[in-house]
Amino acid sequence: MAELFWTTVGAILTLSIYSFLYKDNPFYKFAEHLVVGVSAGYYLVIYYWNYIDPNVATPIFLLRVGDESIGFMSGQWWMAFIPGLLGILLYARFFPKIAWVGRWPLGIYVGGYAGLGISPVMQARVIRQLGANGLPLAGVDDPMAGMTNFALGIVIFAVTTYLFVVKRSIGAGNKIARVGAIVLAAVIGYAGYVVLTLLSNAGVVSMTNILLVIGLLGTLSYFFFSMRHRGILGGLARIGIIFLMVGFGASFGYTVMSRISLLIGRVGFLLHDWLHLVD
């Protein structure tokens, strides 16, 4: 019985949220306010019992860490007292006279994490990524590779230039012709890709490597702020935009599936767990 009651609560809340798709309505408003209230209560309780109680309150007042006793004003006691004090200082802002002290915990927190973040970011997002991109452009062991490589470079270059030319020359003229040209470019690119993959495996490797290198070069160029995007930099930045757009489109398309899975899950909850309409 309790099971059915709670499933029904969940189902009604689920439907209330879906009613938002039609338009804003009292059911959605209620569900929205409910979830805000529940989660506020949830985090208040969890933060207190999981962080404040074991790490601050118990050591300071009950002189215990876990099951171990600690001395008053001992090293461990201070290690609980200092963060506790910092937490309290956050509230100094409500007292105008000492409001400025309220910035200390923020300073410590933000400063600490700023420092903490810098080096790993350098390591993981710059050096590692460079390393992953510092590829031998051609499969060095394979003599065929050099040639396929060259051919591939030409194809890619041709396709991208073609896109530029189309964009520039037809401009605001005939839209259909422009789109046709773009589609044609994509088809040529695809056909070239198929032919080359059939030629040799090294061809695939070197093509993909070239894509990685040119793509990274282009995207990084797009992010140059202190130079005008003209000439070579302008060209590279345009290549960068091409890669960005392909990347965005692909990621968008790639995500559709997981979002639909979520919906299937919820519909399954309604039809199966709640209504028992399907098995």
């Binding site: 569900a31 805000v36 700023a114 390591q123 460079l130 070069l217 702020f225 995007h229």
Partner: protein, 403 residues
């Protein structure tokens, strides 16, 4: 009940787990039959030449000690029934102490990575056959020492130092009055236009600083831009609604907006009820922001900061509500959604550049210039890496393999 057999398997499994090694099926069978065949009552000879010393390696915080020995004569020779070695550690020479690990026969080395730095230890190693333990070999005292440098991260340090040097140099140049060019960032002008439009329509501006915690640099960048936006809204007395998902961000946003209103000379226009904490829970937050968009009808929605899956929920609802929308984030996975659903999007580094661009403060402009040089250096390094890979200059590549 064949106890020896069971014990033996348990031991082997222990070995396999401890050493993370793979057990050969044939050996197991053999040993099993051997142990079953005769009840072994002769303990194996202990291992010899035991020694232990501070382990020197990467990320050496002094918690590692490497222990080595020579095989027991019964391991591979003699009775040839040694299954492995049991390594124990104590703080006094005569105590046996705690088990550090178990390694399979034929192993002569073990790195203890659970030592407390600067504590003298004694190590005891015993050979084990299917039922018996040998006499222990003991060595000590030895202690783990910390090192002050992590060699495999030198390249990170060097590049970071170079980067910082560039940023600081350009910042100082800028302060001395060197004029630095910064290209136009399309999304940024859009922010001002959006706020302007909200003012014309007499409707509020919604500013969502993301759902990142304040330790997220995106959030800090967002607060900088918020300060700029608040100054504009203060000037026009347009209401500015800032919903937040983190209490600390909420309190920082309050300070930022209050200060901006005071600076713009309209401290009385500041409405504390418009800086709101909604929920730490991601989708509860999204639900509540959607509510704000539909009920308070902001004419301009600005999403700047760290966003996760809620990005499209916000942007689509905002679009439906007819607001002009500008987004900015460095969350790669969410950029596609902002790009498709918003009028303008600040991508990646543009978000960070925005704060410099808006303030036009030479100090901030200098750091942008530094970043650009670092990008150039990165491209050069990538090229060098490619060449190094082709010509086989492995030392160069290895230097960048950090840990």
């Amino acid at each position: 009940m064949k106890l020896p057999g069971t014990a033996c398997i348990a031991f082997l499994m222990l070995c396999a787990c401890a050493a993370n090694a793979q057990v050969d099926a044939v050996d197991v069978e053999e040993v099993l039959s051997m142990a079953d065949a005769r009840a072994d009552s002769v303990p194996p000879a202990p291992p010899r030449d035991l020694s232990a010393r501070d382990h020197i390696g990467d990320n050496d915080s002094g918690d590692r000690i490497s222990v080595s020995w020579t095989l027991s004569p019964d391991d591979g020779g003699g009775e040839a029934d040694v299954l492995g070695y049991l390594v124990m550690r104590s703080e006094a020479p005569d105590a046996r102490g705690d088990t550090v690990g178990v390694v399979p026969a034929g192993t002569t080395r073990l790195v203890d990575d659970t030592a407390v730095p600067r504590t003298p230890y004694y190590y005891h190693v015993q050979a084990v056959d299917s039922v018996n333990l040998s006499e222990p070999a003991t060595f000590g005292p030895v202690e783990g020492r910390s090192s002050f440098w992590q060699p495999r991260r030198t390249s990170v340090f060097v590049l970071m130092a170079v980067f910082f040097a560039m940023v600081i140099t350009f910042t100082q140049l800028a302060q001395k009055g060197a004029s630095l060019f910064i290209r136009r960032i399309p999304g940024l002008n859009a922010i001002e236009e959006a706020v302007g439009r909200a003012t014309e329509m007499g409707r509020p501006v919604l500013y969502v600083p993301g759902i990142g915690e304040i330790d997220n640099i995106m959030t800090i960048a967002s607060l900088t831009i918020l300060s700029h936006v608040a100054k504009i809204t203060a000037r026009y007395e347009t209401p500015l609604i800032v919903p937040t998902a983190r209490a600390v961000v909420m309190s920082a946003a309050e300070e930022v907006v209050k200060e901006a209103y005071a600076e713009a000379g309209h401290p009385d226009a500041y409405n504390p009820d418009n800086i709101r904490y909604l929920s730490d829970a991601q989708f509860a937050f999204a639900a509540a922001v959607n509510g704000i968009m539909l009920r308070e009808k902001p004419a301009a929605n600005l999403y700047l900061g760290a966003f996760w899956a809620e990005s499209l929920l916000l942007a689509e609802t905002g679009f439906e509500a007819g607001a002009i929308q500008v987004a900015g984030t460095a969350m790669v996975s969410q950029l596609p959604f902002f790009v498709t659903a918003c009028d303008f999007t600040l991508m990646g580094e543009e978000l960070y550049a925005a704060s410099a661009y808006l303030s036009r403060e030479p100090k901030l402009m200098g750091s942008l210039k530094g970043s650009d040089w670092m990008k150039a250096l990165s491209i050069a390094l990538m090229a060098a890496g490619i060449i190094a890979n082709i010509v086989g200059w492995t030392a160069f590549v290895a230097w960048f393999e950090t840990q």
